[in-house]
């Protein structure tokens, strides 16, 4: 009985972790193709439901894409040059 429950829990946990890994794989694909993020429909990216069903894009998807440090540290004027706290 307990062994059965343990097995079930392990299977569920493995499935959840596999989901997280799939997401990581998607990000890796994106990083290999950065132009996706800067071209035409770059914000309507296909993080979900890539095959068949319509793509859904949430605000979290967009924020996470940016949080990956997509473009690296940019060369830009610092806020301190413009404004004082």
């Amino acid at each position: 009985m307990q062994t059965g429950r343990l097995r079930s829990l392990v299977i569920v946990a493995a499935a959840l972790l596999a989901g997280a890994c799939a997401s990581g794989e998607e990000w890796a694909t994106w990083k290999d193709h950065p132009s996706h993020f800067a071209s035409g429909e770059h914000l309507a990216f296909s993080l979900r439901n890539r095959e068949g069903s319509p793509t859904r894009v949430t605000r979290e998807d967009i924020a996470l894409a940016r949080s990956q440090g997509w473009w690296g540290k940019p060369i830009t004027v610092s806020t301190e040059q413009i404004l004082e706290k």
């Binding site: 829990l9 946990a13 035409g40 894009v57 605000r59 949080s67 473009w71 940019p74 830009t76 806020t79």
Partner: protein, 238 residues
């Protein structure tokens, strides 16, 4: 032994959602991160404004986050800053710096930096100013003397993959009287641009101040919808 294993597995499973949350999934757009923390202000006047209008600032950050999702209000950029070029005194402007996810466009790339700045001004300044001035209490506060909107976007130029990206930046400073005149329809967008102080940078290089000779009409912010973009449950956009 089995029972300990079972308890361990159950605990691990129960922690999974918390792990995902703490790893940043739930925090990436937190409005609080956009606000300049109170302890970083250099004057009590600014700190008091930030304390007084914290809810308004959070609402502004949240509104832009959800409703103009291709803009990113930069961390700690939202607050009551003092424009450096104003010299003496402690003039506090409600300020915000946003990064624009700009599609790659040959037409845009062909423009001079000044014209790119003008295009960005035409597209974003009015919609953002309207949002920043949404609170009547804030705009009526004599301690708030104007608005600063800093827009930046990725420079479109050929570069090696290993090169650091370059941003182009336009900073727009609008005194409160001009902002209120514009928002009330008493002056045109062109007149607002004449009265505003508009500065440009290419990367870290300061360029000439921008004098707009004409303002193109641009309703992109109010009309553009990201394909298949879904608002979070409970969020509405005006």
């Amino acid at each position: 032994m089995r029972s300990r294993l079972l308890r361990g597995a159950a605990l691990a499973l129960s922690l999974l959602p918390a792990l995902f949350v703490s790893s940043g999934l739930a925090r990436v757009g937190a409005p609080e991160e956009k606000l300049l923390p109170l302890d970083q202000y250099t004057s009590e006047k600014a700190r008091e404004l930030a304390r007084k209008y914290a809810e308004e600032l959070r609402a502004l950050a949240s509104d832009i986050y959800h409703c103009i999702p291709w803009l990113e209000v930069q961390e700690h950029s939202l607050g009551f800053y003092r424009p450096k070029h104003l010299g003496g005194g402690d003039s506090r402007y409600l300020s915000m710096r946003v990064f624009i996810e700009q599609d790659s466009s040959p037409d845009f790339a062909r423009l001079t930096v000044a014209n790119q700045g003008a295009a960005m001004y035409a597209r974003y300044v009015a919609p953002l100013l309207k949002r920043m001035a949404r609170s009547q209490a804030l705009t009526a506060d004599p301690g708030v003397e104007g608005f600063t909107i800093i827009l930046e976007w990725l420079k479109q130029s050929a570069r090696a993959a290993s090169d650091r990206p370059i941003h182009e930046t336009v900073a727009v400073f609008i005194d409160k009287a001009s902002a209120l005149d514009f928002l009330a329809g008493r002056i045109t967008p062109r007149a607002l641009a004449d009265r505003a102080d508009i500065r440009l940078w290419d990367g870290e290089t300061s360029l000439q101040n921008l004098h707009l000779t004409r303002i193109s009409e641009d309703d992109f912010v109010s009309t553009y919808k990201i394909k298949n973009y879904q608002l979070e449950p409970g969020v509405t956009c005006p």
